[in-house]
Structure formats: C-alpha cells, structure tokens
Symmetry: D2
Subunit: 195 residues, 4 copies
C-alpha cells in the first residue's frame, strides 16, 4: 500500500462557517490519514493464522481500513466542493439535474430531506453499475456506502461538521452548504465520468 498524505484546502472564501469549525473539521480528517497508514502497515505484516470473524487482529485492521479510508475519501470530496466559489449552478450539472429532477429547486428539496434523514453523509452520485444518477445517504463513513457510486456532490452531516457553529440546527447548516458549493468542481467530476 502506498502511504497516504493529507491534502490542503483553501477555505478563505467559505461563508458562514467559522475558522474554528473548519479547522477542527480538518484536524479530524488528518486523524483518518494517520489511521489508514497505521492500518495498512499492520495489514502488510499481519499474522495470517489469526483470522476470526468474532475477534482477531485481521478483523480489527479490516474494519478500520474501510472506516478510515472511506472517511478520507469523503472528507476530501467534501472539502474540495466546499469553496464558496462558483456557487451558481451551470453547465453539465445543471443539465443533468434538470433532466433527473425537473429543476434545481426540486433537486434541492429532495437532497435536503435526505440530508435531514441520515446520520453521516449525503451524496448526489452517478451509479456506474446501473448507469443512473441519484441522491443517497450514509449513516457513518462506512455504513450505507453505495458500491459503484461516483460522487458528484458530497455533504458531511456528522455532528462534527456543524455543531461548533450551529449547535443542533442542522437545517441551517445544510442551507449554508449550498451557499458554498462549488459547481465548477461538480462539473469537473461529471466531465471526468467518461461514461
């Protein structure tokens, strides 16, 4: 396994999220980086005679591998599309969203409802297996992940993403997310799909 290193993000144009909220969130992300490097090293040198689904070191490493690796990917996708720039929908994402949901407003209403209904993450994705676009939600980094999903819009709804700034008012935080969502980033993800 290659060693993983934390990426840097520029939050200078992000609106309505405090430097404290964003820096604590980023510090959490760095912990997942530390985790995956430790896990991958342990898996490389794992004792292949200790392999039980009740209790074993292989089990422990595997559980943390998925948890931390999913956490890293999701956080990078989230930070990347949370810039405060290019916040007006346009281009290929506008086209796709209009086709699938009728309008951006109709998309927003559904996305926000899913975001209030789950405990971890909400994604608008392209499903490579099924060749369709849809919104789906996860309850944690590794619980409820959709296989073959290609993430396009990624929103963190863990309490750690908003509690410093908004307490338990998740609704307000979700609105704030869409004031910061970078559609240039979303369009680049869409254009890279080479469907």
């Amino acid at each position: 396994m290659n060693s993983v290193t934390a990426k840097n993000y520029n939050f200078s144009n992000v609106k309505f999220l405090s430097a404290m909220q964003l820096s604590e969130h980023y510090a959490l992300y760095v912990r997942y980086i530390d985790c995956i490097n430790k896990v991958n090293e342990d898996i490389s040198y794992s004792n292949l005679s200790d392999c039980s689904s009740n209790y074993s070191s292989m089990r422990s490493s595997q559980k943390s591998k998925t948890f931390c690796f999913d956490a890293i990917k999701l956080h990078e996708l989230y930070f990347e599309n949370l810039t405060g720039n290019n916040t007006r929908i346009c281009g290929s994402s506008e086209k796709v969203i209009d086709e699938v949901f009728g309008s951006y407003d109709s998309f927003l209403e559904k996305f926000k409802c899913v975001a209030m209904s789950m405990r971890g993450w909400v994604l608008f994705c392209y499903d490579r297996y099924q060749d369709e676009f849809y919104i789906y939600g996860q309850d944690s980094h590794d619980d409820g992940v959709m296989l073959y999903a290609e993430p396009l819009i990624v929103l963190d709804v863990y309490e750690h993403a908003y509690m410093i700034d908004y307490g338990i008012n998740r609704k307000l935080y979700i609105d704030v997310f869409f004031e910061n969502l970078d559609f240039k980033v979303v369009n680049e993800r869409l254009n890279k799909l080479n469907k």
Copy 2:
C-alpha cells in the same frame, strides 16, 4: 429510477455446491430485486416534509435502498464469477496478483484470512481513487463497503451462502469457492477498468 430485473446464471458446472444451496441463494437475490423496485417507487413519491434522522419514511427508504442495491450488485458479481469454468489463474489477473502479492499462493492465504475474519463479503478490488489493488471485507451488504472500489473477485461469506452444504464450516466453503472461480470473468473485469 429504472426498474431492475433479476439476471439468470448458469450453475451447471459449479462443483461441490448443491442445487439446493445455489437455488435458495438465488431466491434470496430475487427478494433484493423486489425490494429495490419497491424502494425506488416509494422514493419517487416520497413525502418531503417527513425527513428525520431518528424516524421517518425517507430514512427508511434510504436505508433499504443502499442495503438492497448493494446486495444486488454483490450477488450478481458473485454469481457471475462462480461458474466452475476457467478456474486456473492466467492472463491479466495473474500478472496483477503476482505484482501485488508476490504469488497466487500468497494472495490466497491473505484472501482466505480476510474471508474468515468478516461477516458478509470479501472482495479483491481495484481502488479507482487511490489507484491500487487490495483485498477488503464487509460485514453486511451495506456495512463496510469501500467507496471507489471496482470489484474483481467477489466472495459471499454470509451464512446463507454455504450453511445448507457446509454447516458452520466456512473454511471448506472458501476452498470450494476457489475451485469454482472463473478467471475469464475476473480478467474481463480487469480489462474493462480503463485506468
């Protein structure tokens, strides 16, 4: 959402798994197909004012969407690579496995240990995000799924996959899986990666 239909599989050359075991397993898969079609219809017509992460119909649909959709994809990948044909490793999968694990025997030893350590699925996959190959395991259809994983070898280790034939002897079942694994299917998956 497009309606999903069950695919058919030819198990006539599968060795050491009984017709009963295979047909009950296939019947389970059909239930997931029924599930996803019901869920997708409910989501289309969902009440967007009932959106709570404690208890809501949107939450219920979302949980089952991921569970059943992941179950369908994983079962199709499993049935597809479980043919009893082309069971000798060769071609591109042999090349990749030698590169990553040193030898097929070394790969087998690690894959089997992960398969004994998890409660749902084991996959050898290509990670699109990280550009690497690795083995990982899941505890259920939707718990522990790796985002961006492109499945190459897929083994079901749920109790339903082997209990009729092997009781709680999962070890024997895992050996039997490798007597049936179709490397032509695995190589086709590898070749389609367009990395």
Copy 3:
C-alpha cells in the same frame, strides 16, 4: 473477569429441527465462549496508551466483548426456551400476554411480523426502566439491543438458526419455534422479575 464455560442443553424433545441444525448451532455458540474468554484476558492486560476510536487494540477488544457476550447470553436464553416441552401457554405468561396483547393469537401475529422484519433476534421482554412489556427485534447480536430489557421469550432469526433445515423459508421456522417454546421456562423468567 470470570472465565465463561459453555452450558449444555437437552434437545431430545425438540421437534422439526434436525440434529444437524441444532448441533451446528450449538457449535457456533461454543465459538462465542472461546471469544469472550480471549477478549477478557486481552482487556485485563490491555495497553492503556493505545486508545483510539479509529483504530486501536482497546477498540477491537471492546467491539468483540459486546458482540460475543451478547451472543452468548442470547443463545443461552434461546436454547433454554427451546425444549419441545410445556409448549402450551399457561400461568403468568398467559396472564401478561392477554393483558398486553388481548390474546395469545394477537401476540403471535405481532411477534411473527417482527421476526420476519429483523435480521438477528426477536424478544418478548419486560423493560425494567419503563416498567412495561413489549416485543422488540435486533439486527445482530450487538446491534439493536434494548438497554434494561429483561428477556422472556427469545427467538434467533439469524440465517444460521434455520437454513440447514428450512433454506430461506424463515416463516416456517418461526412456526416451528412456537411448537417448541417452553412456557415453564418463560414463566420462571417472569416470576424471577421481582418487579
């Protein structure tokens, strides 16, 4: 921690469940006993500087402690009330069930529906905290456990409980459970509640 030892059960009067099904199930239970003894020893000697919620040996031991200990308790309760004797409802359980559900038939209908809706266990319990009786279900040994529940009737609906005999026909297995449920055991549990 005290060392835990497997208890013995007499299945000689159990109807419609094969010796194979029952002995494989019992062998699974013995594995949980081995697990908890290993876990408890590890926790006693645990390294208290390795304490991370992402990945640590303490985390791994704690996860398996609850999983295996709940598995042991639930299996013992299940085996204990699955004797094939005293299968006609009577005494204190009849009184309580009539009070809470109107009739045994009405209880059965609800219990069976919960048993078809969950993935691990179904319990009729007395809730010590809330001072009420109700049916509830779990998705695994440790997922969905009700704090302060005092189990009175315990049914295992994991696939391992019935697949050898009934394939995926869980409905039939649930009926068979009630042909074997020992109400003398249930009444003893009720009488011990010292509410």
Copy 4:
C-alpha cells in the same frame, strides 16, 4: 405503550460545560422523546402484513424504537449523574471500584481509554447475567449495547456532547466529566441493585 415525557435536569452546578453546550444537548434528548412516542403509536396500529427484513414499515418502526428508546435511557442516566455535586468518590462505589480495579486511579485510566476508543457511550455497569462489574463502550445509542447491563456511571462521547465547548478535544471533555460526576447518584444506583 405509555407515552414518554422529557425529564428536567438541574445543570446549575455543572463546571466547564457551557449553558449552550448543555441546552443543545438537552434539546437533542427531547427529539428522542418525540421519536419514541411517534414510533410507539405507529407500532400499535402497524400493518401486520408488511413484515420484511429488507424493507417494511414494521422494520422501520422497530429500528427507531430501539434507537430512540436507548438514546432516552442513556441520556437520562448521563444527565442524572452529571450534576457537579458530590464529585468525590465515596461509599459503595468506592468499595466496588477498589475491589474490581485496585484503585480509583486505575479505574479512571481504564475508563478513559475505553472512552477514547468508542464512538458513542461508555458505561461502568453491573452485569446482572454474569454477576460482575465492568466498563464497556458503545458506538451509537443502539450499537454495542450490553444485554443485562445495569448502568452505574454513564458518559456520552458522541461529538454532540462536547464539540461546542471542546471541538475535537475529547480528552479534555472526559476529564471535565469526572469533575462533574455525582457519586451520590452512582451510589444510589448501586444500592438499588438488590443483587
């Protein structure tokens, strides 16, 4: 089912946790009360022909029943033992902790390690089934609950419990918890055990 109502707690002597942190936490608790009342009503009138472990209204109600009911019990136990009064260990809890862990310091070291290793709750409990005392942890309200546990000391380590005041510095929050733990409450729980 009886209707459940929120209890009130006096946080006036709680140190190092802000009124904002405590009141947002309490508001979350009230949401679980709303949840359980809605769930219990739905279960009373549930459609007993819609009973699937893949997707059904019974499944949805059952999942939320355990989640919200466990959340309520755990939050009440937590708020109750977080008063800022009687924070010096004494009486029956001191006796038990000395017996089981050798000293309070040794108990604290272990409890804090478990509290850093789990994602939801940490409990010091008496196990009614096994007749022993131990510390254990949960990853969420309903994941990792120990059957037959009688909670004595209850600490919430969800991010919502400390993030407003301490960001991701959970270590500091755990120290603060022990500056507020009410041993009079703990001793009353111990004395009520009627072992």
